[in-house]
Symmetry: C2
Subunit: 252 residues, 2 copies
């Protein structure tokens, strides 16, 4: 498979074989991660490798007991990290000024560029990955489990291993739904109807509505998967983490 084919073949893998990932393969994946672009070549991220069974058990509840954490041989947690850069400054007698929201944003971007490079490198090796969006939900607890100092915030994680079950590709909106030429083109009701037509008429969407006894896909998102109550709660938790880790020292 060439690079484009690898990218187009991506699906989240939620069932893994027990085969371990060879050490040199992992090293190549991590090396791919750090070759990605990074703000001012500051490399504002850290990667925590979880292989140990005891550590897996500790992070399992932080990923809402998703069993892939136990099943996958490896979980990689990507953190926004200014701690290392700040220490470099301090040890060279310079006072860093990165305890703010904008610098945090750079570190988040750096971390995600790194993780996506790792994903594609892993898939090129025949491995499967699954993003664990749960990472930001429980970032406060991740800090304890991984012993993260100030300046470090967990942003996302991926499971890594050889796929056991390879599911079909998931649907995407047509390209024109997300691409805007020159300026943003806002969406009329007719346009939304058109762009979401295929998604709303997939057999799996119909089945989902039936299972959930609901009249539309958005209702499943809003009332079940990602409710306002949860979103507000976890926004407060995550923003507290950002502040506590020292990235919001600029407001009076």
């Amino acid at each position: 498979m060439n690079t484009i084919e690898t990218i187009l073949s991506h699906r989240s893998i939620r069932s893994y074989k027990s085969d371990p990932v060879p050490e040199n393969t992992l090293e190549e994946i991590l090396t791919a991660a750090i070759r990605g672009s990074t703000t001012g070549n500051m490399q504002l991220y850290s990667i925590i490798v979880t292989k140990d069974e005891e550590m897996k058990k500790k992070i399992l509840p932080l990923h809402f007991n998703q069993q892939i954490v136990m099943q996958a041989p490896i979980t990689l947690t990507f953190c926004a990290d200014f701690n290392r850069f700040d220490l470099w400054c301090k040890y060279r007698g310079v006072e860093p000024g990165y305890d703010n929201f904008h610098s945090f944003t750079w570190a988040v971007i750096d971390a995600i560029i790194a993780v996506q490079n790792a994903c594609i490198a892993a898939e090129a090796h025949g491995l499967g990955i699954c993003y664990l969006g749960t990472t930001t939900y429980t970032a406060d607890k991740m800090i304890d489990v991984f012993n993260l100092p100030k300046g470090v915030v967990p942003i996302t994680a991926i499971t890594l291993g050889y796929p056991d079950i390879i599911p079909p590709l998931t649907d995407r909106l047509p390209l024109e739904a997300v691409v805007h030429n020159e300026v943003y083109k806002d969406y009329s009701k007719e346009k939304i109807d058109e762009l979401f037509y295929e998604k709303e008429n997939l057999p799996e969407s119909k089945q989902l509505l039936e299972e959930n006894q609901m009249d539309s896909l958005p209702r499943i998102f809003v009332e079940k998967r990602y409710t306002k109550k949860d979103n507000v709660h976890f926004s407060k938790v995550f923003f507290e983490v950002v502040k506590n880790q020292g990235f919001f020292n600029h407001e009076e």
Copy 2:
């Protein structure tokens, strides 16, 4: 070049040939972007394609007059976007609950996964890219120029074109600097000295110190490139954008 080689060969391209990017190549790059993982398959991003000379002139000052914006045939601006998803909810009679910081974080992650897929796909096609970190600095003005509605925040941009000058690979810290096994290992002064030794002793680093008449690389970052004063200013600007675009409606 296979996928791993493509990833490992990445360098930021700051000088482009005038050759245009074929339409089907751009489409393949954009298709690669949307195949990336996305939170709950919500695709919380939009991509603005800039090709028009007049639009390039408008965004040029927003990228601090970096001439690559004029020189590259295409700039792609990636935005965190909940507007489209929210409209889908509303048109289906459901009130979305994504006007909060956590939902914003999902959209940022989605946008960066998409952009990095686009970068690797572009590089696989022999194109070069350069991230424009300036995007978050002037997100408030981007909103005007691109006519972005509430729920949409510019996160990053890339220039895209055939490389004219291909620079050498930039340095990276050794892998062990950013990888932690099982738990985070904080850095002693000795460890920082060791991990940054190679970077601090590169001929280009020595040259940089001489040009800037400074005693250490961190001083160049802190006192010249990314000063606290600027960081605080742009943090306030960017956080205002996040609030104004409707992603912070959860604090009293």
